[in-house]
Every structure is written in C-alpha cells, then in structure tokens.
C-alpha cells in the first residue's frame, strides 16, 4: 500500500499503461513539459518521449479528431481536455465520429480512445472551469462514461479505461486531485472491480444515496452525520455513468426502499432523472418514497462566490434524506 493523491494515482496508472502497451500514448494541451495544468501527467514525457506524450496545438476538436486517426492506425490515445467547459469544441468529433465509428463499420473499426476530463466545481475558478458535462456523453450511444472518486479507484480505472476497446470519457473530480488515499499499486488489475460496476462504499439499511465523482466523499460524510440521527445510509459510488450498473442500484433500493441521487450537474434532465425513472420502474413495489434528486440548479454554473449555494453539500444531502423519510 502506498499513500497517493488522486492526481498521482492517475499518473501512476497512466505510467503503467504506457509501460504495458507500446501503442498507448498521451496527448493534450500542456501535458508534456508542464505535466498538465493539474500535473496529472507530470514526468511522463520525460520518461516516454515526445512521440508518446504529445503537447498538442490548442484545439480540442483537433485533439480528439487526430486521436481518432491515431486509433485507426492502431494507437491507444489518452487525450486530456484541460477543463470540463473546454470539451464542447470537441463535441462533434466525440459524438458524431468517435462514438459511432464502431457501429457504422459494423464492428470492423474499434476506437480505443480515452478522453480525460477534470470536472466539477468547488475550486473557486472562473467560468467554464467548474462544469459537469457528463450527461451529454452518457446520452450518446457508443461511449462509455465513467467517473473516479478516490485515488485507489483512479489508479485502477484509468488503466482499465486505456485497456478498453471502446471510447471512454473519463471524468476526474478536480477538487479531489489533492485528496490522499491508500493505493495498492501491486494488486493485479484483473482483481479490480470491472469498469462498468458500481461500488457500495458504505453499507446501510434505511436509504440509498447514489453519487459519483467529487460528491462521493460528501455523501459518505453525510452518511456519518445521519448515523447520529439514527439513520443508516447506504452510499453507492456509481463509477460507471454509461452504462449504469442497475443491478447494484436496484438491489440496494429494493432493500432500503428509499433513494437519493446526488450530482453537481443540473438536476433537470440530469443523470438523476434517468436513475429515478429506472428505479421507479424496477423497484416500484419496494419504494417508500419517490426518488429524490440533489444537484445543480437550472442555471449556468455561477460565479465562484456563489458556488457554495449551487453545489450540493452535506446539509443539502441530509435535507434530501430527511425529505425522503417524510413520505
């Protein structure tokens, strides 16, 4: 076991992938000499060379578009999009090309491209640096969408994503980059939880709280606080946003009878809506209360001095848990 920050765990995971597969490569803005604006790729160019860790021109569509070409040539590019709000210039290449090529070619073409995106708020940034665009990609067939939440998860998941033959949109909770955690870097990757599975972080009996990314930790803290009120909260880290691991979700909600979904992205038409619909269909006779959602408002991401109001925090999560019990 080694104590690593989430950022370092990702770095170690990518280093493993670069060592294991000569076709794996890293590309993006400032990922080489600088090591990325969050230093996630620190030192990789020095050790693997400029051909494998590539500082690109400043053009997100170009990053993803050329990554597609490299993948067609047999490479496994890992693209870094510097911030969540900068992924939109690449949306056409992701949605119209990357996601569809396997289908259009009736399986003849595979595009093992990973697109890493630091996402979410809470770091006091200027606009376009705190967004949660995951649902745009979860809504796009052909993509796998995942979010890691702690160092151990990050270490395994980034390696699994790079090894995956499908395109993977890989969300990293940027305000947790500096969180430290124990990582077993010696554990075989085959023993890690599969990339498309959710993880029960804290077991509980009274209510299921589902989240992903940065808010997993907040939900765990809320569960501890709720214990003082005599409520047993089960916290599930979704990890995979597309596909959703409904098996794990429904097994839990069928037992607890209550479900709260928590994310930073706007509640309206967010992932919580999809989960609520599916839980209602599949756990209807077990539910004691409607599925509740806690998330961002139907507003653009606000200026930094307002983000504490916008972002779900421990109290808003507990409030939703309370409301769930009011039914």
């Amino acid at each position: 076991m080694t104590k690593l920050t989430l950022s370092r765990a990702l770095n170690e995971g990518m280093r493993r992938a670069l060592e294991a597969d000569p076709k794996a490569m890293i590309m993006g803005e400032d990922v080489g000499k600088l090591g990325g604006v969050f230093r996630v790729t620190d030192g990789l160019q020095k050790d693997f060379g400029e051909h494998r860790v590539l500082d690109t021109p400043l053009a997100e569509s170009g990053i993803v578009g050329t990554a597609i070409g490299l993948a067609l040539r047999g490479y496994r590019p890992v693209c870094e999009i510097q911030f969540d709000g900068f992924v939109f210039p690449a949306t056409d290449q992701i949605v119209s090309q990357l996601a569809k090529m396997h289908y259009r070619s009736r399986g003849r073409v595979t595009l093992p491209v990973v697109i890493r995106i630091p996402f979410g708020g809470g770091i006091g940034a200027v606009e376009h640096h705190s967004e949660s665009p995951e649902v745009f990609f979860a809504h796009t067939p052909g993509l796998r969408v995942v979010a890691c939440s702690d160092p151990a998860e990050a270490f395994a998941m980034i390696q699994q994503a790079i090894a995956c033959d499908d395109p993977v949109i890989f969300f990293e909770p940027k305000r947790r980059y500096w969180d430290k955690g124990e990582v077993d870097t010696a554990a075989p990757l085959e023993d890690a939880l599969p990339l498309d599975k959710a993880r029960t972080l804290l077991p509980g009996d009274d209510v299921t709280v589902l989240s992903y990314g940065a808010l997993v930790r907040t939900c765990a803290e809320a569960a501890v606080a709720a214990r003082e009120d005599g409520r047993s909260v089960e916290v599930i880290d979704l990890r995979s946003l597309s596909p959703l691991d409904m098996e794990t979700i429904t097994a839990s909600v069928s037992r607890t009878g209550r479900c709260v979904v928590v994310h930073e992205a706007p509640v309206y038409a967010g992932l919580g809506a999809e989960i609520a619909a599916r839980v209602t269909e599949q756990c209807f006779y077990h539910l004691e209360a409607p599925v509740l959602r806690v998330g961002g408002f139907a507003t653009p991401y606000p200026p930094a001095q307002l983000e504490d109001h916008y972002l779900p925090d421990l109290d808003r999560i507990l409030d939703a848990v309370d409301r769930s019990f009011a039914f």
Partner: protein, 368 residues
C-alpha cells in the same frame, strides 16, 4: 471565362496559377515540374467512363425508389480518378461522401457504396482492407482523422506510406479543416489535402467561403498549395503523385485545389436551377473531363473505335450488374440494430435488446 450566377461570379482561374497538362481540346501540355512518366491514359479513360456510368445508374436507382439519396460525382471524374490512381497500394485515403471514383480506384465494389445510400448499412466496408476509410458526412471532420492517421505513420516510421484526404470547397470554412491544416503543418505530417472545388456547397458559391483562391489557404499555415485543373485527369494524377511523394519523403503536407465543377445536383434532393444558370453548366460542359481524354486518345491514335466500344460495353455491363445487385440487397434483420454499438457487453443496451426481442416474439406467438 467569367460566368454570372445569381449575384455571385465564378471566375475561371488565371492560366498562370492552374496546372493543366491536357487542355479541354485534348492537347497535351506537359510541364517539367509535374512529370507524367509512364502513365496509363487509356486506363484512366476507362475508369472515368465506368464511374460516370455508376453515377448515372445510381441516380436512376434513386429515382426508382431503390436508393434513398445519391450524391452525384458528375463532372468530378478526373479529379477523383487522377488522384485515386496516384495513390500507392499502401497509402490511406479518407473520403467525404462523393468520392465514388476514388472508391473505385481503391478496388471497392460500387455495390458497397450503394448499400450506404440505400440505407442497409452505414457503409460498412473494411477501411484497412481497401485503405479507404468510411465516408464522412459531417463536413470536414475527416481531415483531422487523416492527419492523426498520418501522425501514426510517423510514429511507425513507415516511410513508404502517406495519406490523402478529400473534402470540398465548402469544407474549407469548417474549423476542423483549419485545425487539420495547423496540426499537419506543425507536426509535418505526411498528408495530402485534396480539395475538390466544385464551385458550390449545395447552393452557396465558392465566393461565399473565401476571398482568396482556396489553394492559397495553406500558405498561412506554412505549407505549399497548388491549384490544378480538376477536369484534367493527367494533371490531377501528376500533381497528386508529386504531393504524395513529398509527404513520404518527409516534406510534410500539401494542399491541392482541384478546380472543377459539380455538373449535377448536390444530391438527388437538390434543385440547382434555383441557384445557377444553365449557361454556366453549358460553359463547363466544354471542359468535360472525359471528352478531352477521348479526343486526345483518338487523335493521337492511341485508341481506336474498338477500344471505345469495348469500354462502353464494359460500362453497360457494370450498370446492369450494380442495378441488379442493388435491388437484391436485403434489408438487415431487425435485431442487428443493436449490434456493434460497443465491442463488449453493455448492461443497458443488452437489456434493451432482450426487451425488444421479447416484444417481437410476442407478435410471432400471437400469429401462431
């Protein structure tokens, strides 16, 4: 030649900036900068006749309801056959959606292309088998794929390979094309940008896309651009051959603007009479890419009447074959809608597949 068209003006390029090796009258005009070498002109003629026949047949099939839509290549045969024949077997081509002539040069059965326009596949040929990527319909996207592929060639140190990417005059306004130019330039990628300027992006004339001739666009990105008579198969061949050689030799990208004309509609849903004059089409008919080669071959005695009759017979045969094959293309089985979204299992999709199968089975049970 100046032709008025609905407020815009199509100006034929100055002779000084246009590479032309065979005049519209069928006169050879060799250029020491673009040596032709040992070139199979009769083969080029045959290819152009064949793909024009394919085009005529496909339009007819669309009119008969056998194809949903067709994007005609009429008038662009020389640009496509000339450049397509310049490729070596290992070179990779990235088409847009009108490159039926290049597909032909890459040995792709035209029926595979018809499948796409009939709606039975999304054009599911094997790109690596033919070194011919899938058609790309979102304008300009493929220029980045080609550039990335070329960057892969650099990493493989495969010095005998290059990439060519096809796009149109309208595409030059797309951001992705500018990004591809920038990337190819700074990485010195072995890619040839082959722009068929057919004068129209559906209804928008080329003047709506650019104030400068398109081939000059590359200059600001730091690599050469050349304008070639896109209706001259010899010039398209020689210029493309040279650009591919330069790419393979490590000299980086070239932009080729093939100055041509879309003689037909944008697609079978389009009505060009709403935005251009018949006189313009007539003027371009005099520059027909096939006629000038025929004149040249006949006048110089390189081909006789028997040759032309033979080619016409082969074209007729091709037409009959693809007409029959197109009509016989089966609709894909319903459950294939779920195939190949992902390379492995996907719980959400797999559940939908099972549900829809059960739904369909319900009808069969009810009918029993």
């Amino acid at each position: 030649m100046t032709v008025q068209n609905g407020g815009a003006t199509t100006v034929a390029p100055q002779d000084s900036e246009l590479i032309q090796l065979l005049t519209p009258e069928g006169e050879r005009n060799d250029n020491p900068d673009y040596p032709l070498g040992d070139v199979d002109i009769k083969g080029m003629y045959r290819d152009m006749v064949m793909v024009r026949r394919l085009d005529t047949e496909a339009i007819a099939l669309q009119r008969q309801g056998e194809l949903g839509i067709w994007a005609s290549l009429l008038g662009q045969e020389a640009a496509q056959i000339g450049s397509g024949r310049a490729l070596s077997p290992k070179d990779m081509a990235f088409p847009s959606y009108r490159e039926h002539g290049v597909a032909w040069c890459r040995g792709l059965d035209p029926v595979r292309v018809l499948e796409l326009f009939r709606g039975v596949t999304s054009g599911a040929w094997d790109p690596e088998e033919h070194k011919f990527h899938l058609y790309t319909i979102v304008i300009g996207d493929q220029t980045l794929h080609a550039t990335g592929y070329a960057m892969g060639i650099q990493r493989d140190t495969a010095e005998d390979e290059a990439v060519i990417v096809y796009f149109g005059d309208g595409a030059t306004s797309q951001g992705d094309v500018s990004e591809a130019f920038a990337w190819a330039s700074v990485f010195n990628a072995p890619v040839v940008f082959f722009c068929q300027n057919n004068q129209y992006a559906i209804s928008a004339p080329q003047e709506r896309q650019s104030r400068i001739p398109l081939y000059q666009r590359s200059r600001g990105f730091g690599f050469p651009g050349v304008r070639v008579d896109g209706n001259d198969v010899l010039a398209c061949y020689a210029v493309t051959k040279q650009a591919l050689r330069a790419a393979r030799e490590g000299q980086g990208p070239t932009l080729i603007e093939a100055f041509t004309y879309r003689m037909g509609a944008h697609t079978t849903t389009d009505d060009p009479t709403r935005y251009r004059l018949a006189s313009e089409l007539e003027a371009w008919r005099l520059r027909d890419p096939i006629e000038r080669v025929r004149s040249y071959l006949a006048r110089t005695g390189q081909a006789n009447a028997a040759f032309f009759e033979q080619v016409d017979a082969e074209a007729k045969e091709l037409g009959a074959r693809i007409r029959a094959a197109c009509r016989e293309l089966p609709d894909p089985p319903p459950m294939t809608v779920f195939d190949h979204v992902y390379s492995g299992a996907n719980a959400i999709l797999d559940a939908e597949r099972a549900e829809y199968q059960a739904y369909l089975d319900g009808f069969e049970e009810a009918a029993r």
